[in-house]
Symmetry: C2
Subunit: 356 residues, 2 copies
C-alpha cells in the first residue's frame, strides 16, 4: 500500500491470469488457448504488415476490421466495436453501460474478471446462484437492476444457454443492457449475434483468442445496436485513440475472412472434446456438458487441487479455482489429440494409484 | 444520447486524434509521426514473431521488455511499467495516482487528452496558465492539490523545461505524484529518467511512437519508484491482463536495443527541424523554441486556420487547435527533408500571395 495510490487503486483486487511459465515446456491446458496455429492467411497478412508503415499510427477507427466483421456476421459496421482483446472490450462495457448506483447481475460462478471490473468502476455486483447442475436460471435475471452480463457458454462450467433463453433475458429486461460474452461460442453453441438487429439492448462480445487461434495479437469485438456501439466508442476515445495495432488489424481481417480454416479447426477441437469427455468419464470423472474448448471435471474420490499439482509435476498444466462450490473441479483446455492422450494417460495412472 | 449509457459516458467529451485520411496520399505532418522507418532490427524481430505461437497469449508481465528497458535506462525492472501505447499508460496513471477528491494540476495549454482522462475518472483539473512566451512556471505548481502532470517538451508548444526545474517540481511536492510525459524528449531535451531512483514521487512516461518510429505497434512505458509501478500494475490487472501483443513485444525489445539507429534517426529529425525553423522564420513565421519533432508556428499576417486549409488543398496535412491563445498557431510535424522543402515552398507561396 502506497500513500501515492488513489483511493480506487487501494481497494482493487486485480485479476490473476493463468500462468504462462517459461521454466520448461509444458502441455499447456490452463488458459483455453487453441492447440492449432492461426490461419495461414492471417500469418501471411501479418507478415505483409511488417513494413515501414509501422512508423505511422494505425487507423483509430479500425475501419477495415469493422467492415470485415460486419460482412462476416451480416451486420452493419456501426453495429460493431473492436478492442485490444475481449478483456478490454469488457472493461469498456462495464464503464459504458453499468450505472454505479445500481447493481449489475451475473452468475455466482463465472468469469472471475467480472468482479474485478465491477470493483474498478465502483459497481456493486449481485451474484445470481447457478443451480446444482451449474445451470443458469434466466427467470432470476429481472427486476430492479443496472444490467446483466454472463458468458455463453459459461466459464468455467462450460454449460450453454439456448438462444431462446437469451431472447427471454433480453425481452424481460428492455431497459437494461444484457451483455452475452461469447468467447467460447464457436465450439458448439448458437450465437446471439443473430438477435443483435432485433434488440437495442443486447451486446454480444467475441474474441479472436479462442476459436481463431490468435490469443497472441489481442483482438476482441462486440456486436450491438448503433447506440450501444456509439457508447463504447465514447469510452474508448476517452481512454486510448489507437487500441489495435497495424499488425493485429491485418491479421484479424484475414482470420475473419478465412472461414474454411476456422470451421476446420473448431470442428477438430469439438471432436477431441467429445472423445476426451467420454474417456474421462470412464475414469470416473464427472464432466459438465461442454460447448466450449475446455471441459470442467470433478472426481468423487480425488482431490482436484492435488490432481492439479500431480499433473504439473508431469509437465501438464490445467486450471483450478479455489472458489466455493467449484473447488473440487479442474478446468482442462482441449489440446491436440496427442496432448489429450497424454493427459488421459496421466490421469488414468493418478486415479488408479489412489484407488488401490 | 442513449438511455443505456452510464452517467459517466453521458458526460464524456472524447479526444479527437489527428486525421489518418485514406482518400489520397498526403504529406502527413499532422500527428508527429517519425518520417523514418522503424529500426531494421525491430522489423526483423517482428517478422520472426509472426509464427504459430501467436495462438498463445503473450507474457502478461512483458518481462523481456521490462528487462530491455531497465538495461537501456540503467534502472531495475521493478521501476518500469509498459502499456498499449503511452495513451494507455496515461489513462492508467490518472486512475492510479490522482484522487478524484483533489484537483490535478496541468498547464492550460498542453496535450488535450489530459482533460479527457480527468473527465473519465471524475477528477477536477486545475489549469495553470503558461506565461506569454508559453513557458511553464514551476513555482506555480505547489500547495494543496492531488498531483501534477505535464509533457516535457510541452505539446503543442514544443517548449522544454530544464532538468533543474523538474527536480524543483518533484521536491516541492513530496506528497503528490509528479508525472512528466516525455513523449518528445529524445529530440533534444534532457530526460528525467535520471532522477527516478532519487525520488519516490516521480513518474516519467515514454513512447515508441515518436523517436522509435513505431506508432503502428502501440507501446508506451513509464519509469518510477517500485511503489508507483506496483500501483500501475494493480490498475492494469484490473482492466486487461494482456495489453501488449507478442509481435509488439518483440519489436519493442529490438527497437530499444538498436541504439545506433535510434541516435541516427533522431539526429536527422533534429537537424531538419533546425533548418526548417530558420526557413520559416525567414518567411515571417514566429516559431517557439522547439525541442520536439514538431514546430509550433504563427504568422502575424496570415490566419492559421486558413493556412491549414490551403495546405490541405495542396496535399499537406498539419495540425490546428481551435483553442484560446493558440488559435493562430499551426503545429507542424518534422518530416523528411524532401517533405519539409515542399512544405516551406507551399507556405512561401501562400504568404507571398496574401502579402501582395
Amino acid at each position: 500500500m502506497s500513500k501515492f495510490w488513489s483511493p480506487l487503486v487501494r481497494e482493487l483486487e486485480p485479476y490473476v491470469p493463468g500462468e504462462q511459465p517459461k521454466d520448461k515446456k509444458y502441455i499447456k491446458l490452463n488458459t483455453n488457448e487453441n492447440p492449432y496455429p492461426p490461419s495461414p492467411k492471417a500469418i501471411e497478412a501479418m507478415k505483409q504488415a511488417i513494413n515501414e508503415d509501422l512508423r505511422l499510427y494505425p487507423d483509430p477507427n479500425s475501419s477495415d476490421l469493422l467492415n470485415a466483421l460486419a460482412r462476416a456476421y451480416h451486420l452493419q459496421p456501426n453495429q460493431v466495436f473492436v478492442g485490444n482483446g475481449s478483456d478490454e472490450v469488457l472493461a469498456f462495457t462495464f464503464a459504458t453501460f453499468f450505472d454505479p448506483a445500481k447493481e449489475v447481475l451475473f452468475p455466482d460462478i463465472t468469469y472471475s474478471f467480472y468482479k474485478v471490473y465491477a470493483n474498478f468502476y465502483g459497481i456493486t455486483p449481485r451474484l445470481i446462484p447457478l443451480d446444482d447442475d451449474f445451470k443458469i436460471d434466466v427467470a432470476a435475471y429481472k427486476g430492479e437492476h443496472g444490467g446483466i452480463i454472463m458468458p455463453n457458454p459459461n466459464a468455467p462450467t462450460a454449460n450453454v444457454l439456448p438462444l431462446s433463453d437469451i431472447r427471454k433475458l433480453v425481452e424481460q429486461n428492455p431497459n437494461q443492457v444484457v451483455v452475452i460474452d461469447e468467447a467460447y461460442i464457436d465450439f458448439g453453441a448458437e450465437s446471439a449475434t443473430s438477435l443483435v438487429s432485433e434488440y437495442d439492448n443486447l451486446l454480444v462480445i467475441h474474441t479472436l483468442s479462442k476459436s481463431r487461434s490468435l490469443a497472441g495479437i489481442r483482438v476482441g469485438f462486440a456486436f450491438g445496436s448503433p447506440e450501444l456501439i456509439d457508447g463504447l466508442n465514447r469510452t474508448k476515445n476517452s481512454f486510448n485513440s489507437y487500441t489495435i495495432d497495424r499488425v493485429a488489424l491485418a491479421g484479424a481481417v484475414a482470420a475473419i475472412e478465412d472461414v474454411d480454416y476456422f470451421n476446420e479447426t473448431r470442428q477438430k477441437v469439438i471432436a477431441t472434446r467429445e472423445r476426451v469427455s467420454a474417456e474421462l468419464q470412464k475414469l470416473g470423472f464427472k464432466c459438465t456438458q461442454s460447448a466450449a474448448n475446455f471441459v470442467f471435471v470433478t472426481h468423487p474420490e480425488h482431490d482436484a487441487n492435488l490432481l492439479l499439482k500431480q499433473l504439473r509435476e508431469q509437465g501438464i498444466l490445467v486450471r483450478y479455482f479455489a472458489a466455493p462450490r467449484i473447488n473440487q473441479y479442474l478446468r482442462i483446455s482441449i489440446g491436440t489429440d496427442e496432448e489429450m492422450d497424454l493427459l488421459v494417460a496421466a490421469l488414468a495412472k493418478l486415479v488408479s494409484i489412489h484407488s488401490t
